[in-house]
């Protein structure tokens, strides 16, 4: 969905879903799926094309955790908050990430490179505590490993 033909792309998604129930949500899903977030310009364009107030679109976007309003960071770091990982120290690990990156969980660094999130149990409790970086599992992590993990996220 390139910026230049934004309205055409939105129009396409709108046409595909408009006759169906819950069209707004489906269109937003499609945009989220393709871009990894729903940019403000697209929400505005959608508001025009579907004749839905922007206020309503943002009600939907912020109601469901699924939707992102900011572009995804290059490296998404997710600490597992399953019981085993939690007890074995995910909070301390996340604190160390926070300290080194200068952001809280749920935020993205201003340069758009890192974001910190948490996930529910990823099902590798034997490896606890577990951290995911762009989906890749790192097991038995300790706070001391954090600088090393960050160093691996090059460019």
């Amino acid at each position: 969905m390139a910026e230049k033909d934004l309205s055409a792309d939105v129009a396409l998604a709108v046409r595909k879903w408009q006759k169906k129930r819950g069209a707004l949500i489906m269109v937003l899903h499609e945009i989220q799926g393709r871009l990894g977030y729903v940019p403000r310009e697209i929400a505005l364009e959608l508001s025009k094309q579907m004749n839905v107030p922007l206020a309503r679109i943002y009600e939907v976007l912020t109601f469901y955790n699924f939707f992102e309003l900011e572009p995804p960071a290059k490296y998404v770091i997710s600490g597992c908050m399953g019981t085993a990982c939690y007890l074995k120290g995910t909070p301390q690990i996340m604190q160390e990430f926070s300290r080194l990156l200068g952001i809280e969980v749920g935020q993205t660094t201003p340069d758009g490179r890192f974001s910190l999130t948490t996930v529910r149990c990823v099902g590798c409790c034997g490896q606890a505590p577990v951290v995911l970086i762009n989906g890749e599992v790192h097991s038995k992590v300790s706070p001391q490993d954090v600088p090393h993990l960050l160093a691996q996220c090059k460019d």
């Binding site: 929400a43 107030p53 922007l54 206020a55 679109i57 943002y58 009600e59 912020t62 109601f63 309003l69």
Partner: protein, 588 residues
Amino acid sequence: MARTTSKTVRAKLNGIEVVVPEGTTILEAAEKVHLKIPTLCKHPDLPPTAACGICIVRVKGTNQMPRACCTPLEEGMEIQTHDPEIVEIRRKVLELILSKHPNECLTCGRNGTCELQSLASDFGIRQQSLPSIVPDLPKDESTRTIVLEPRKCIACGRCLTVCQELQNVWALSFLERGIDTRMAPAGDILLADSPCISCGQCSAHCPTGAIFEYDETEKAWELLRDPDLHCVVQIAPAVRVAIGEAFGYPPGTNLTGKLYAALRYMGFDTVFDTNFGADVTIMEEGTEFVKRFQDNQGELPLITSCCPAWVDFMEKYHSDMIEHFSSTKSPHEIVGVLTKTYYCDRKGLDPSKVRVVSIMPCTAKKYEIQRSDDMFASGYQDVDLSLTTRELARMIKQAGIDFASLPEGECDPMLGLYTGAGTIFGTSGGVLEAAIRTAHKLLTGEEFDSLEFQPARGLEGVKEGRLTILGREVRVAVAHGMGHVEDVLDRVRAAKENGDEPAYHMIEVMACPGGCIGGGGQPYGITDALRLQRAKGLYTDDREREFRRSHENPYVQGLYSTFLGKPLSEKAHRLLHNSYKPKPTYRR
């Protein structure tokens, strides 16, 4: 809520038998038998949001505890509205809300008028029993008309319903959900970047201090304290019949004389009346109408433009209507510009040393005074400061004036003496009615005998009427509350597209339901009953005036004969008219 059903239900509330139309809620039924169920999120103007839960009642013989505000009474129901357990649950609900609410009553603008505060008082809350978790959300003062303080929001949903449904503006919404739910401008931007039209209806309906007028009372005191300045004040029509509510008078009491006196007491050097400006507006707008109607110069219908929130709405959402808009300025702008030209000239005052403060029922007027270069037609800012009725009430109290015992005062007639036509500007339909009184004279040379034009009166969202002038049918419409304007405009557009006769010849639009008497800056507690009482106050004022038609105002006649020439003269155009331009709905 009006329902059309002939069926009734019979039920009991605390053992008292009631018979009510089917569909009546438990809350409405309780009111009929003088039982007061506490409410917080429910507002009489709005459909229930059922957000707070404080209105729960018990259905006897069941374990149901429905919310009275949104549950219809059913045949044979036996309702208990109060018992120790119900009161305890309500108290818990209240304590939960309070745990999320900052404990800042002493420094809050709603201290004394807050509905949450008064419930806490009624329930005898004496301590904060739950840990306090007040969200850390910033204040938004970007519009300089309406202040949002989401920390104080209790998520009742009234403002959203007002802004989305009543006003169809969609500037406000809830974001996120559950305990994180917060009120915010559409898409989490500053209110100034949103489609907000500054009508202030959200602030008039919010139960707490979360939405508030931008307070400029301190600025007014500064002007009044400055010995080098000549301070001029003017009061809008709707202010005089509402301000009394802040001093214990019944709604609708006309306090014009006391207001004049109080304003002088506060230190204003000259006291004018916006009603005079309304008379001038009618001279100009009436003449515009005649030109379009008789001489085919310009589009019909002519649409009124004295409500700045409506102008803003039109520029953002309906800019195809610009050519239909009357170019005449609103009454307080007219008094402003005439003060700094005509009045200064006659009194030998230096306009750079004169400040004009307008007291308005309105938050949008705060925006209007700088809305375009046209608002500086005198060479200075024509109106320097615009305060709401609520702000003036506070200032009167701060000044230590015993309003009740204050003898009546007089205004300065030069831009102050007004007719009945000027005073009814404050209520929906009044501008149209005033315009008819003068346009009739301009078109036929004869007075509009009946004076009163009933189809324009009342609280119906869209009012339509017809009259005959010079054998031609004149179709008029009145809409108030932005949610009602769409239908009327669609009819105008359809007629245009089909090449038909214009759907109407003149349309009056006011952003606030009921017009300015129900304005966003008026004393709290608005209901339809209150709107009718305030309107009645103005209609009574109209009937009691010596002159009831704008063109009969001797000071208006003097203004034209000695200064402006005639309506729509070159000078009148330069000073009293303005233009419009399309605006983006979202500034981001």
